[in-house]
Point group: C2
Chain length 411, copies 2
Amino acid sequence: MNGMENQKHNDYMRMALRLAFGRLGATSPNPAVGAVIVKNGQVVSTGCTMEYGGDHAEVVAIKNASCNLQGAEMYVTLEPCCHQGKTPPCTNAIIASGIAVVYIPMLDPNPVVAGRGMQTLQQAGVEVVVLHQCKQAAFDIVRPFIKSIARHKPFVIHKIASTLDGRTATNTGDSRWISSEVSRLVVHRLRSCVDTIVVGSSTVEADNPRLTVRYDDFSDTAQNFFSTRQYTFSGYPGSFLQGLLESWKTEVTHTARKVVIGLPGIFHDTYLAKEKDACFFIAQHQYNTLSHRDDYSIIRDLMDSGRIQCTHACHAVEQIHEVCDMLYNQGSMIVMLEGGAKLAGSFFNADAIDQCMYFYCPLIMGNGKGIIEGKGRPYINESIHLYDVSTVYLGGDVLVSGYKEPYTCEA
Amino acid sequence: MNGMENQKHNDYMRMALRLAFGRLGATSPNPAVGAVIVKNGQVVSTGCTMEYGGDHAEVVAIKNASCNLQGAEMYVTLEPCCHQGKTPPCTNAIIASGIAVVYIPMLDPNPVVAGRGMQTLQQAGVEVVVLHQCKQAAFDIVRPFIKSIARHKPFVIHKIASTLDGRTATNTGDSRWISSEVSRLVVHRLRSCVDTIVVGSSTVEADNPRLTVRYDDFSDTAQNFFSTRQYTFSGYPGSFLQGLLESWKTEVTHTARKVVIGLPGIFHDTYLAKEKDACFFIAQHQYNTLSHRDDYSIIRDLMDSGRIQCTHACHAVEQIHEVCDMLYNQGSMIVMLEGGAKLAGSFFNADAIDQCMYFYCPLIMGNGKGIIEGKGRPYINESIHLYDVSTVYLGGDVLVSGYKEPYTCEA
């Protein structure tokens, strides 16, 4: 493959990756996948993973095509599946379509696929080419799926906005706004990439957040910042941040579930109490005292409808493990932790944070609430090291992303 | 001026700016200036400001030239001076040399020059062209000089290495190393750009730092990172960080003075106690108790040689103002504050920090010492806003620089 050919293949794959990125958080427990079909040098169809139970990206793209696909090429961001799940194997559809070559950046980490999809295609005479250059970008998109498959836990993204001196709120609790409008717009974009948003009850008490995606609340200036790509990336090519911003779209395709850890003191007037899908996960000792509260009738309704759920672990770390298990069992694959520092501390103590997405904003507060208030590691070499760090400069604020697990080149 | 011409002029000016940058910290109380002389499209000479009392950049460049300068062009990073100081006016030397055109990025902020240098040249028939595109880069280099001229205070750079969660040491005091080897090499480069380094006595107790520039301690890999320019900038063109890294050199031309605030408990064995130029600035109440210490004979020697100096202010904020006045009066123009968080807190409380240079390193500590432990601002809108933020991605660590005062376009 010569350089120009190679460039062309990577361009199509990047188009598929942007499609996949646009579906992050909307496909759980399936991975978000994108597919592009090219025939005679023209893109003839695209597709991406539908909601669970719906078609996979490959099938969507094949169905979308209005021309005969004999001899066409497909670029798909993950090895096509070869097993019967909620839907028939994608390999069948590809083979039946007459597609001649399938380009993939990586094999499926799902042990029931893991190379068998490729073999199935090859045995049917479909050529399969692995485009290694796009692997890391593809890997980032399936990290939550890998965690889900391998560990039966949700993938947790910890997001914060901090001053340059590492403070997320003043000592009086003021935190609005540390970050710029542009950064806050990125947070709304992030919310559209997860299936669950978790906050602590004190965040609900302090900020009464809605945790929704509200692009319309933002000025044209902020919107244009992204449409005209005024940001600058550093780090590896095709990083999560690059995927996030280059797949920018303001169409909201799904709504993340909101989960509060703990029950706020006064909460019946909060946005989250009023939102039908929002849940409160409450430790046994607090749960046992609820009947003494003045607002018990409201609490009772929420209990009856399953919106207040009890955790049974006695210790904070075990409670977080239990919360993660509950989230996984209730269908969460990509969770964003939005505050506050104490809850982040509990997740840190439980080693439950998989990705950090930290906005550093050009303010100096002098003191205040930290980013994570957990059990500090006594020595530097016991700290958690983050891998695959990338950054984006947002014209003042700097967003840094890093992962607990390094990108692995196998498969 | 057409685009290509303009590019050529800016390239020469950037060469002059790199020369100026290479002299930061070595010229106090004069500004660091660089000059490039071009004749018939060739660089025929360069110069930069010598130590105080020595020649200014323009004169050095003129003396360095081995050819006749009739009709030549000079690129100088600041308006040439027209007044007699320790040395004769640079305008005289320029006029006498036969140089026909002088390119400058900005006027001299020194009120005794402030446009008069340009006028003097013009009246003598020398053309003066202001290259506005390079102004911000030139401005950053003279910020300390502006502070010195206008406020009679040193310009204070606060440098820290922090984990991503805003911690500069574990709760047990471990801080070696949070940052990567490459970042630590940048710190040594930074030390070569200041005339004074300030630390607190507890940093001396905890780390026994030398605060010297020791490029030889670093691996070839780290050195090559800079010589092969593996970093990525974000922010405005010609930012301080860009100047810092693009003027990279490992030749050490001057040694910054070290100042410790407070007297460490046991200190006679520390590197700084042994370094003849290092000083200890001690508050009156501690000073009064020194005669009771076991090591009083050593202390007495240091007092006699002026290495222990007493501050008289009663309150911490006033003490920092006094320290800044003492530093200014003793010839400091560019000070780097290297630790710890409490001392930084005192400087923050005294509103004495002019520039932040924060390394964020891909570690999560969970808790620990903060970046600044001062009097936190109660509300976000009372926080210090930093301007002209730029960043450099160092292959994992991210260095962010920002200023308390915005760049101003006047002059």
